[in-house]
Assembly symmetry: C4
Homo-oligomer: 220 residues x 4
Amino acid sequence: MMLPELRETVSRLHAELTRYGLVAWTAGNISGRAPGGDLFVIKPSGVSYDELTPESMVVCDLDGELVEGDHSPSSDTAAHAYTYRHMPEVNGVVHTHSTYASAWAARGEAIPCVLTAMADEFGGEIPVGPFALIGGDDIGKGIVATLAGHRSPAVLMQNHGVFTIGDSPKAAVKAAVMCEDVARTVHVARQLGEPLPIAPDDIDRLYDRYQNVYGQRSHL
Amino acid sequence: MMLPELRETVSRLHAELTRYGLVAWTAGNISGRAPGGDLFVIKPSGVSYDELTPESMVVCDLDGELVEGDHSPSSDTAAHAYTYRHMPEVNGVVHTHSTYASAWAARGEAIPCVLTAMADEFGGEIPVGPFALIGGDDIGKGIVATLAGHRSPAVLMQNHGVFTIGDSPKAAVKAAVMCEDVARTVHVARQLGEPLPIAPDDIDRLYDRYQNVYGQRSHL
Amino acid sequence: MMLPELRETVSRLHAELTRYGLVAWTAGNISGRAPGGDLFVIKPSGVSYDELTPESMVVCDLDGELVEGDHSPSSDTAAHAYTYRHMPEVNGVVHTHSTYASAWAARGEAIPCVLTAMADEFGGEIPVGPFALIGGDDIGKGIVATLAGHRSPAVLMQNHGVFTIGDSPKAAVKAAVMCEDVARTVHVARQLGEPLPIAPDDIDRLYDRYQNVYGQRSHL
Amino acid sequence: MMLPELRETVSRLHAELTRYGLVAWTAGNISGRAPGGDLFVIKPSGVSYDELTPESMVVCDLDGELVEGDHSPSSDTAAHAYTYRHMPEVNGVVHTHSTYASAWAARGEAIPCVLTAMADEFGGEIPVGPFALIGGDDIGKGIVATLAGHRSPAVLMQNHGVFTIGDSPKAAVKAAVMCEDVARTVHVARQLGEPLPIAPDDIDRLYDRYQNVYGQRSHL
């Protein structure tokens, strides 16, 4: 069996999606790019989170074709594959329909950067990508094109949910957790009035400091 | 004891109702139709979720009369029985008062289809059935009549809660989980503005693809 | 040690308050009246829920004076004692600051009966009692006077929280769980519009049926 | 290894932050001042809550400089250190981005005292401190200056989150838990109208009684 360590990592990280309440039933999925760069490990389709094991993970190439595995790959595999093909610095991708992020996505509204934690992690607003149907490269194209214009490792896909990226599967999972956390807090803040803006210069200072302190590169 | 496997399945599935927070105290119930079609297994009335066992499940006929069991059947048994009598393709029924679905039901308002996950699972809006009193066939009639006009496997009963159907008890539980999930997300989206509509053609495309990929037939 | 069985019951029931998220830190308390009627068992003051044991429960008389126990009784003991003195049919009392019930209480607004589950359990609106300071009989008087005019086993005390009663400690805990459940659902319903009313006759029919089916008497 | 008991206490208390849902990923931190007063124990930076042990805690002096530990101290260490330097009666400090408290902070709005539990614990409103960048003493100065004018052991830092203090680490954790609890309840109350005010005299009576009953001094 190929890639035993990455299978283990990707399988185990799915527990963070349930721990933080980001997923219901079998929705949501995580992938990780293999060393070498031309394969990735991803969740199988329709398997419940309780039953995920390193062995049940599947391996795909960058066209999203199944290379190894007893199950079908996640129905979102094409979007993961497109992202890996076009963003060589990305080694992890996460997709969820987490409640608050998806609510912003349903309105097609970016999440404004009004929290210092959001400046730290996202370096500005969390942007919205286009409405796109599943079944081809449209979702992947929307992810890559939208992220190109932002420092955010998260993108809200209109009427759909959220995709996050990272230089590791764990970094992408962290981005998914923090995206829902700030999506919820900014939503709650907005329910009773307008949050105060943070000056763009201060957002830059917070982002630069955080990325250096934590040793993370832009987007990852 | 009849139907040991179905008793085990129906008993165990109730853990999903508590895991996803769809029920409080002893509210909520699941049933499953037996092979052969003229009996079903259902939760006993007023037993706490911690104490449910395969043995405590009860067996009823399609008139809702107790056939086997030490406890009384769920007080919602008549609605389950009516549904099985009039929808031969249904093999599982779930009833909950889950918070967000019941809130839409309290306003008598259908949940609009503004999420791709909702197009996938429900094929359009989640409709509202009539106000009906417990104690006869009124609730069952409302369920069957309302579902007849929709692809949704879930129906919001006005001022009451939600009923879902499936071609298996597990499919009906999945519908109950996803119904609350989209009820909550669309509620949250609506709190700060109007969600963007999804074009009816796109809803059809998403629904058709999802039902084929997952091998599910309409309504189930 | 007196009343070992009741100590065990009251101690164990506190786990339901944490399970349903009705309490934070050490807020919230449950009591149960002893057979014979002139003593009750109640939570000790300031002890965390993890550390509650049958032995740490305290016994008080109907004036709220400590009869047995190593800890001080709950700071809400006077309100429990007043309720037992004036409502001989009550054998259990619960107090929480659960979020949604307390939010209605902070506005001094009764929860309207717009859910069939609320008609079942509460027989109408959940009423609001007066603002009252702790330290005398004012809270107890407010509870008893307000419940006298309603079928509800729950009363929202203005700017404070909720008290529930039952013919057993478990029944009072059920009322506290269901009170928060309907407080939340009706709140959520109201956020996006007006819930549809249920006709008073239908509320009566639902309440009468539920109390008979479950063998419970009015208020308990 | 210095301070084994305090390391154990501070490490263990972090479980309360996850239990009450006050933190996501590695955000949030607790510190405790050592006997003698010139050192404190604090969470290491970027370590997940599951992996915290007494041994992984770090020891700093009151300038925030690392004295003992294998990890870097929390990135919020300077704010903890400033608070200990300027508030000699404080022996515990907690920082979180808990959702509802942070939402009030994002609007720069103090939480009004409309719950008796809030009068008990906070003696009035929970105030808002200034917007301040991390990396120097600005956050610490904002905390100390804002708390000086209030009885509240909690301060909302604008666009950021909440800091709480106590005469022990446990007391500061309790303040963080209760702060989020009242932040949420008052938020929910405000969603459907205006909460009723509590008269200032009654707030004083409630606060005085609670602080005496529980043997706590002002601010701690």
